[in-house]
Every structure is written in structure tokens, then in C-alpha cells.
Symmetry: C2
Subunit: 491 residues, 2 copies
Amino acid sequence: MKRIERGGHEDQEKEEESMSNHSQFSNFFYPKNIVVIGVSSEPTNLGKNIVLNCLTFGYQGEILSVGLRKGVVFGQQIYQSLEDIDRKIHLAVILTPAKAIPEILEQCGRKGIKWVVIESGGFSEMGKEGSALENGCIEVARKYGIRFIGPNGIGMINMENGLAMPFMPLQRDISLGPVSILAQSGGVGLSYLGFLAEENIGINKFVSMGNKLNVDENDLLEYLIHDEGTRIILLYLEGFTDGRRFIEIASKSKKPILVHKSNRFKASAQIAHSHTAALLSDDQLVDHALEQAGCVRVNTMDDAMDYTKSLTLPPLKGNRLAVVSRSGGHAVIAADVCAHYGFHLPSFPEDFLKKIESRLRAHVIRLQNPLDLGDLFDLDFYEYIVDELLKREDLDGVLLGHGYRYQGFEQKASRKLVQKVAQLVERYQKPVALFVFTESVEIDYLRRHSNIPIFSAPENAMRAFYLSHKWASRRPISMELSRRDLGSKTT
Amino acid sequence: MKRIERGGHEDQEKEEESMSNHSQFSNFFYPKNIVVIGVSSEPTNLGKNIVLNCLTFGYQGEILSVGLRKGVVFGQQIYQSLEDIDRKIHLAVILTPAKAIPEILEQCGRKGIKWVVIESGGFSEMGKEGSALENGCIEVARKYGIRFIGPNGIGMINMENGLAMPFMPLQRDISLGPVSILAQSGGVGLSYLGFLAEENIGINKFVSMGNKLNVDENDLLEYLIHDEGTRIILLYLEGFTDGRRFIEIASKSKKPILVHKSNRFKASAQIAHSHTAALLSDDQLVDHALEQAGCVRVNTMDDAMDYTKSLTLPPLKGNRLAVVSRSGGHAVIAADVCAHYGFHLPSFPEDFLKKIESRLRAHVIRLQNPLDLGDLFDLDFYEYIVDELLKREDLDGVLLGHGYRYQGFEQKASRKLVQKVAQLVERYQKPVALFVFTESVEIDYLRRHSNIPIFSAPENAMRAFYLSHKWASRRPISMELSRRDLGSKTT
């Protein structure tokens, strides 16, 4: 599967370099203790929120604070200088005015701190003066061998140890799970965190990379590819630091990498002017390179979420689907999208259809694939149908559409059905793309409480299936993607 | 703007025919009284729900019930035959087994009922036997001059008079408003009803057309084009009854017609087989014809909702936008999509930017268009910014991104901001595409309680703007589309 051919010797070197990068970067994610620089007890101080988030998320190491003025935050005194701290410090997080930062880095260097996250803005994104500050930071970092993330980001989160650096209080409902996020923009990154929390999909690690002055997406991507806890990688990028290296690293990944690359139509410094053919082909080059590297490109936040959801399901290994829906119209839409993506809908055997027919109320629906369950009201029997379909060898997955009313008489049975379907997916290790037509408050409930992705329309579910199949047929199917059975079946 | 040239005489005839159709079809939507046939007091009876829905939605006319067995529903006796009813009946709704329906139609004819809605399934969609029943219905209808909607649908809703025929209890939160829906599938139609209710967008009329055996989408579209209460028409179709007539009718519409046409890849009787070039070109023909008729084609339910939302805003008359966002990353994504669709982002004047700069907290953001308001926390000032931008003559609309936390300290001020923005849109009659990054429960609240569409991502908001602009530049801008000022400014 190797796409970029190189000599064996060089390969070995690269491999060693990569492993050393890995142990190096784990210092960012698993520090023994941290110091937050720029904390005060003022109500509007943002540095304080970094301490708060680490406390909220249960970071186990010591959290120290440094600020200009004396004071107490969360029961602990604020040091007025790094020098006042008498023990060794592993990692520093800085949120002070930009102009102070080269000097603070200098202090970090003298204190022996090698791992730093700079969250402050006001650097090259602000013009010449900021660029000079950046050069200052780079110089000091080189002098002391410091690696730093940022500036102009919101730092990192590691759900495995409760490290949580954003300077705004985080949602508490973020859980530990398979998805790691690298986002150049803190705001877009936070949106993704929020969307995933609402889908009950857990996060492993999160990095807001900001200006990528020292540590860039390639360093972090390489780390995450080797990171045990990460199974799906989602990147939001506004520009590549080194596109060639990115492709080299990404093409070795056995984990799916979703790339949301914006800034697609801006060639010059002027933001967002009308696109020309030249610009478009630029973006097509990115398309092509990402394709070559085996990445999945997504162009909108909705796509990114649908695709991430689909990748938490067992992979769709073939193109034979069953479509089952409680509404005939939705079944037609679903069948339509199946055809659009080239999926096959094999016929169902007669005895199976007869068994279903015996349960129908008015017998006014013709049974076939897609299967319209319009007037079948026995929801336990739905479970039987999904079970029968998943166990069939001539089917690779099921598209299931269910509809009911929030606070209606079927709500309880429907919620139970969703849980049962999630269990069947686990048992048969085949995916069910489940779309539910109901009030958004109920969709929200299902998303937060189900162990299976919930789609709100057949088109989104099918698009996700399409991606899953494309991903599964691209490489030997990595069992790392299934929710359980990780040990024995891993290739 | 006339696209299909014909002689003046023929035109006049058509116009007269169309007006006579109009008064004819108003009998379906504004009946003086109705009879529901197929009602029983059994707990599982569905006909009863039709009576219930009419009561819930406040239908003012008399509602009579006919069924095989004696009984009482909602305080009123069930008649055992139409003949037992001693007064004139305007409209009948039938929900009985299919095989009884030709005879019931015969009874309707004898009773002088000319307007019928048949909701039962089990007709041609079930094969030969069903086709014979259909022929029976057509024959009886011809004999008595009956017009009927259906079979195999869920009937009509008219929010103007509370007529509500679906046989499942409807959501109560549907309100009266500008959108009318024609849906071949009841299930998809209901999904649209639900989505619109959640967006606080009102419905005017709804028809589930089913098998379109007698009344088809052309009859109903023509009616809605002339219907005063309808300002936006949304169609869900699985097939055209007479495509040429559809195009003729649609091309005369001054109201936007959104067409969601599924069944795109099925040429033969077999549902959803793999698509071929021939099939694809079939669908492209539909594309072309709809374009020619000035319809807006949508291919997914998400698109349909985004576009319907955008059409409830004042039209975007030019292509000059201001992008304002509380997150820099979202601003970049938005600017990106602006470029993709060919919108221009004019520079903002210096004095305006200086005024904003004076309010910023850390001065670490460069002000331009797109405008990143990252550390501006005074939400009243956001209102000032939107006001200033909407009043500018060099701007046609604003894309505004706002973010806050559900139950966070800014929730109240943010909800107020959304209301204020809606008022500014009204005042200046220019659109603001508002996307909000927050928890879905808060998005849901905003959608249900705002008089302005809420988008959940910049891409969706921009796509909606694109459509709005395309629509506004297609024809003389119809002022019918603005939420108020209907009287004086109507062209």
C-alpha cells in the first residue's frame, strides 16, 4: 500500500525519527505537572479558566499559576514569577499580552521547561510588529530547545488525563472516545467538540494549533497516527505548513484522516476574492494530493460530522444494502440515493417477506427491497427484521428509517429499538445507518443517549455509508475501527 | 418574462380556464362542512384521528362521521350511511379498505358530494387488482363529476381554516404562515411540516397527493400560484403526471417554487437499480426543464429546508456582503464560501473600524471584511454593527456568526441580539443570514422563538444566500416575499 517509493535505508531512518517524535510529543499530552502563566484573580481574567478546565476535567498532575499580581485562584496562591517555584515544571501554558512572551519563554528556558503552549494572539496575524515578536519566540525556543504549540490558539485537551487548556469554560459533556481533532482555529475546533458531544461520540485528544509557529500539523498528525487512544483523526486546516510532508505522513496512516481544508479560494493575501480558474485548480491540487494520501476530504462542517459518525460504525465492506423504512417516501429517497452511489439492493427471500406480511395491518404495501413498513406497528418486530437482515450473507449493511413522535405513545418502544439496533450492529459487526424522523428535541435525545450514530435524513445516512464503503474498500479493513473486539482481531 | 410563446387568444382561454380551476379547487380547501367515512370508536381506528385533527386545529365547519358500526366519537354519533345524513355535504374524506371505495364514491355521487379525498392505500401500487379498483374510481368520478385527491395519501391541511385530514395525530405547534407544501408521499410531507414547525416558519396549505389518480400536482400547483395566502411553494414529487403542463404552469409563477424530485435514477419499473448514462441524462432533462420554468430544484431535505428558510428573508438583491463572526475560523470558512459563490466583500470604512477597535478587549485581531469580533463581549454593540452594515448602500446583506453557551452567562443577551437582528432585517428589508454556534438545544430554542432563520453552520447560511440572490436576480423582485409591507409595495 506504500504510495511514495523510497530506499529502505531512508525509510528506516524516517521510522526512527518518527518514533522519537512520538515519545517527544507525548510530553505535550501527558505532562506530570503544568504551570499556567497569565493568571490573576480578576473576574475577567481568562488564564484562570485554564486552571478551571483542568480541575473540571480531572487533570491529576499539579496545576501551578503565575501572574503579575499576588492573589488566590481555586484555593492556590498565584506565583509572581517562575523563579519562585521550587520544583521542576514539565509544561507551561502562556496567556499574556504578546509582547511579553519572548521574555517569558526565556524564563521557561532558564527554568528547564521544554514544552510550552502559547495561547495569546497578537502575532504575525496582526502585521509587522507581531512578526518581530514571532521571530523573538523562535530564537528563544531554538536557544533552549523548547517546542511550543501556538501562538494564537486555545491550546490542547487530552481526555485521557483531563488536561484541558482552552481559556473559556468548556462544556462538561465531552467524553473520552476515539476521535482526535487538530484544528487551526479554536472556534471551529470548539464547534466540532460540541457537535461530537451532542452525538455522544467521545474525544481522545484536541489541539488548537493557531499560527503553527513551531509545532505544526505534521508533527501532531504523526503523533496521533501512532497514538493508541486515537482511532479517527479530524483536521481543520486553513493552510498546509509543508504539504509534501503532510502527504508522506498521512499516506502511512491506517486510521482514517478527515481533512476539512478551508481557505480554498484565496490565492493572494486578500481574503476571499472571486475565484478564477487558476485558483480552482489550486484547490483541485489539494483534492488530488489528499486523495493520493488516502485522506477523506470534507468541505463543510456538516459533511465532517456525518463522515465522522459513519466511521464510528463497523465498516461497510460491500455494496449490497437493505433499505427498510417506516415511510414509503423516505424509502424512495433512500433507494434513489443508493442508486446515485451505485449500491445494490438485493431482493428479499419470499419466506422472510411472508413473515413480515403476516404482521401487517392493512396489507396495502407491496413488500420488496426497499421495504416500506408503513403500517407495521409492532416495534419489537422491527428488531427481528434488522436481525434477520444483518445476519444475511448477501447483505453488507442496512439503511433503517424510523419515525415516531416525541412524547407520543411509541416513544419508549422506539428508544428501546434504537438501543437494540446498536447492539445488533455490535453483534454482527455490520453497519446500520439509522435515520429517524421525529422532533429535533427527540433527535437530540437519541444522539446523546445512543451508541449508534443518528442521522436526520436518508440522504445524510447514505452519504455516510458511501464514505464508509469507500474507506473500507480503499485498504485492508482496519479492525481498529470497530467499537469492541480490538485485541484479537487487529490485523 | 414569458417563456412559452403562444397566440393571444389561446392565452386568454388558458387564463380563463386557470381562474375557473382556481374557484373549483377552493372547494377542497374551504369546504363548508365535511364527512369522514371510515370512522369507528375502536381504539385502533385511524379515521377518528381525522376528526381529532380537525377539532385540534379549530376547523369551524360541521364534521360528520360515517362508519359500519354504531358508536360515538368526540361526542358525536357515527352515521352508518351517507344516506342517513339529512343535510347537504360539501366534502368527503374516505379511509376504508380500498375495495369498498368505488361503491362509496357512488354513494357520494348520489348524495351530491363533488369533492372527495381518498386516503386509503391498496390501489395500483399493489398491482393488477388495485389498478382495477382505480379504474372503478375514475369511472364513478366521471359519471358524477366528482374530483378527488389521492388515493394512498394523508389528505390535506389548510391552516387558514383548521381543516386537517391526516390520519395520525398532528403536531400542535404547526402555525399559519407563507409556505404551502404539495407532497406525493405523506411521510416526507409530514417531515417537512415538522421541520418547518421547528424553524417557526408557518404553513399555509398542505396536500399529500398520493397516487394522483384524479387531481394531480398541476391542478394543485396552479391553485397555489393564485392562492393569496401562499407565498412560497414546496413540492415533493416522485414523478411528474404531465411534465409539459407542469413547466407551463410553473413558468408563470411569481412565487418561488422549490421542487424536491426524487426517484431520479429509476427508469424502469424496478426500484433503484444502478444508474446508467441514459438515466442520468433523464434526470438532467428534469433539471433543465425546472430551470427553464424558473423553479428551484433541491435534491435533499436539508437543501429544501435551508432554501425555504432563505426565502422567508427579504431577497438578497446584489452580491456585496459583509461577513461578521465571533470566531475567526468561522469567518474564514464563510469568506471561503462567499468566494465559491462569487460574492464580493467590500472593505469597511476606517471610522467604522476605529469605532469597533475602541471596544475590543485585547486588540489582537485585525479588523477587515470578514470581521472577526473574537474578543468583543458587548452584545449590544453587535446590534450597532449589524445596524451600521445594513444601512450601508454598498452592502446587500450580512452574514452574521454568533456563538455562546446554552445556560451560559451570555444566553439572555444573545437571545435578545437574535430578536434585534430580526427587527433590523425588517427595518432595512435586507437579509441577514445568521448562523449560531451553540448547543443544539439552544439552536432549537432560537429556531422556535425567532422571526429570522437560524443556520447552524456558515456554509448552510451562505448556500441559502446564494439561492436568495439567484432567485432575486432571476425576475423582478417580488415584494410578496418580505414578511411585512405587503399592501403598498406589491408590484
